[in-house]
């Protein structure tokens, strides 16, 4: 442990060696339990098929790294297509969700809005009675949205938790700023766009991350609403890495992926995870700032 960043307050007794050692072991075990599986997946995806088979199914550190598995799946075929679907779905879905959530949260955060209180109660009530799976399914079917991408966005457009986080954040903006802007002659739209949104970057960043991650990871709705050639990556990953009875009719078997070597399967797993790993460090610092100020004001 580094001695440079020590923040032990004066009243706290100097920890005994045994305590320190126990804590160090605990931290190392926790970190290892999370990081080693990641390492194994990435290493296996980079190893040669031969090495993986020789080693009994997995590799901790590839002796001769190769990108062959990635080349196989990214040069056309079902994974490449699913990747495109996932990217488009995530971008569009996040934009729609973020816009609708922001607008609603802002309107509900301003005092004296016509209908504000009934609408808020209406929304909070859905917490108590979330819509069931079957009614939601019938609704999507009844609205003719089967096998359209709208079926993957519209039913999950606004997340109540995200709405409440944003509303709480907007309510934290001091009233004087609005009055000052109004005195300067700024209109409603101008105030929202030039004053409120720039001040709320941290909360907006966190909420976009939540939406983007949930769109990227979603597979269930795709599995019940979409034909297999419109599937996003997570659903493709599900059918042939985890397996299941549906594989035969998905076209995956023709693509040769069912009998795909371990390396290829792990490569798909990595591709499904990498975007999250990439945006994560940039947004992570906002978590406490954005989420907490909005959510735990109690």
């Amino acid at each position: 442990m580094s001695a440079r960043h020590v923040i032990r307050p004066a009243w706290r007794e100097k920890p005994r060696f045994a305590t320190k050692a126990a804590k160090a072991v605990a931290v190392v075990v926790v970190l290892g339990l999370i990081l080693i599986p990641f390492l194994v997946i990435v290493s296996t995806s980079l190893a040669s098929n031969r090495e993986v088979v020789d080693n009994g199914g997995w590799v901790l550190w590839p002796s001769d790294p190769t990108l062959r598995a990635y080349r196989t799946i990214l040069t056309g075929g079902i994974v490449t297509k699913a990747l495109g679907v996932s990217v488009a779905l995530t971008v569009l879905g996040t934009l729609f969700s973020l816009a609708c959530t922001t607008f609603l949260a802002y309107a509900l955060a301003r005092p004296g809005v016509f209908g504000g209180r009934p609408v808020l109660l209406l929304i909070l009530f859905t917490f108590l009675f979330p819509p069931g799976m079957i009614p939601a399914f019938l609704l999507v079917k009844g609205m003719g949205m089967m096998d359209t991408y709208a079926a993957l966005i519209a039913p999950v457009l606004i997340n109540v938790f995200n709405l409440i986080v944003l509303r709480g954040f907007f309510q934290g903006i001091p009233e004087e700023l609005y009055e000052a802007a109004r005195l300067d002659g700024a209109g409603d739209w101008h105030i929202l766009w030039r004053l409120v949104l720039p001040l709320s970057k941290a909360a907006l960043a966190v909420v976009s991350l939540f939406y983007a991650v949930s769109y990227w990871n979603a597979w269930f709705h795709a599995s019940i609403y979409m034909e297999s050639d419109h599937w996003p990556l997570s659903q493709v990953l599900r059918t042939y890495v985890i397996g299941g009875s549906q594989i035969a009719d998905t076209g995956l078997s023709e693509a040769g992926l069912v009998s795909a070597p371990q390396t290829t399967q792990m490569a798909v797993l990595v591709i499904a995870t990498v975007p999250i790993l990439l945006v994560y460090p940039f947004l992570q610092r906002y978590f406490t700032k954005g989420v907490l100020t909005g959510a735990i004001k109690s």
Binding site: V6, P9, G115, G132, G142, A218, P281, T288
Partner: protein, 331 residues
């Protein structure tokens, strides 16, 4: 969380929002007042429209579509033309051993989660909070939040890689000449396995709320008690725990209200590996009956059962919290 917003909404409604609104604050506003208020805030009303439409259609619309539970659903006729059958679906459900299997599995997993998963974030948060190295703490935080953002598909695949027949654990045990363990696909190991998975995925993320609560404990309390001679254990017992008790109770109530949801995606992904006897929970029961089996009205009935029990549980848990003098989720 709903607490805050509701309280806030109440105070807003009571006090006049701004000076111009004084006229409407006393008594019930008349039609003219309301029209004026609409005129003044029509920009905000417009902003509210798309979101409100979403909730009306996909939450309240779906709520109405629950009527299918009282019908014999014929896909060709659609929801409204299908014949009513009264409570036949519910009667059938209460006599269906598969339904009771699913309910039993759900409760069993829920209790395991409550005992092992619920305290895990608190323990982790206490460990993190006690680290004196800021750098190490922040690094550990970044790592343990990460699994929360992975899809269940990825998490389940990861566990199969590590714990499966040819996985990391078993090949290592085999190489060392030890007994291998049968975990993936073993019905006896299924319930502990799904709880370990959820701990791996979400215990780290759960620390956020406890860490925030721990940060808010007044340092002076610790200092004063340390000067009075209280050791680390006594400080933990008499200062830390009482200070974060409201947040623990709040989270417990929210968990109790949601106790019949034990992780739909997670269970659906692994149900096939052990079969319905062991792996079916209420959510997957609804899915299997209604969407795979096409027994729509019957599945909707099971969904309603789950929803009603859930709402009753929130209500009761909140009542109990008030009795105990805690704040609870709502007033």
């Amino acid at each position: 969380m709903p607490t805050v917003t509701k309280d806030r909404a109440e105070t807003e409604a009571v006090k006049p929002p701004d000076r111009r609104d004084n006229g409407s604050s006393g008594g019930k506003p008349g039609r003219g007042e309301r029209w004026k208020r609409f005129q003044r805030t029509r920009f905000l009303v417009l902003l509210m429209a798309p979101g409100l439409a979403y909730f009306l259609v996909f939450h309240y619309g779906a709520f109405i579509a629950n009527a299918v539970a009282f019908k014999e659903y014929v896909p060709f006729d659609g929801l409204w033309a299908s014949p009513w059958v009264g409570t036949a679906n519910f009667e059938r459900m209460f006599g269906d051993p598969d339904f009771w299997h699913a309910t039993w599995n759900t409760l069993f997993i829920a209790v395991l989660q409550l005992v092992f998963f619920f305290p895990a974030p608190l323990a982790l948060a206490l460990l993190l909070h006690s680290l004196t190295s800021d750098l190490l703490r922040r690094f550990t935080q970044s790592v343990i939040y990460l699994p929360h953002f992975l899809s269940w598909v990825v998490v389940v695949a990861l566990f199969q890689q590590v714990l499966g027949d040819t996985g990391l654990l078993n090949t290592t045990l085999g190489d060392a000449g030890l007994h291998t363990v049968d975990i993936i696909g073993n019905p006896d190991a299924y319930k502990p396995l799904v709880v370990i998975e959820v701990i791996w995925k979400d215990a780290g993320w759960g620390t956020i709320i406890f860490l925030a609560a721990l940060m808010q404990v007044d340092e002076q309390l610790y200092e004063a008690s340390a000067i009075d001679g209280a050791g680390p254990w006594r400080r933990f017992w008499h200062i830390t725990l009482p200070s974060i008790r409201p947040i623990i109770i709040l989270l417990l109530i929210m968990r109790l209200g949601d106790i019949l949801s034990v992780g739909f995606e997670q269970m659906l992904l692994q149900r096939q590996s052990v079969g319905p006897e062991v792996g079916e929970v209420l959510d997957t029961f609804v899915f299997w009956q209604g969407i795979v089996g096409g027994d729509t009205g019957y599945a909707a009935a099971a969904g309603i059962f789950k929803g009603v029990v859930g709402a009753a549980l929130v209500f009761t848990a909140n009542r109990v919290a008030h009795r105990l003098g805690e704040q609870g989720v709502y007033k």
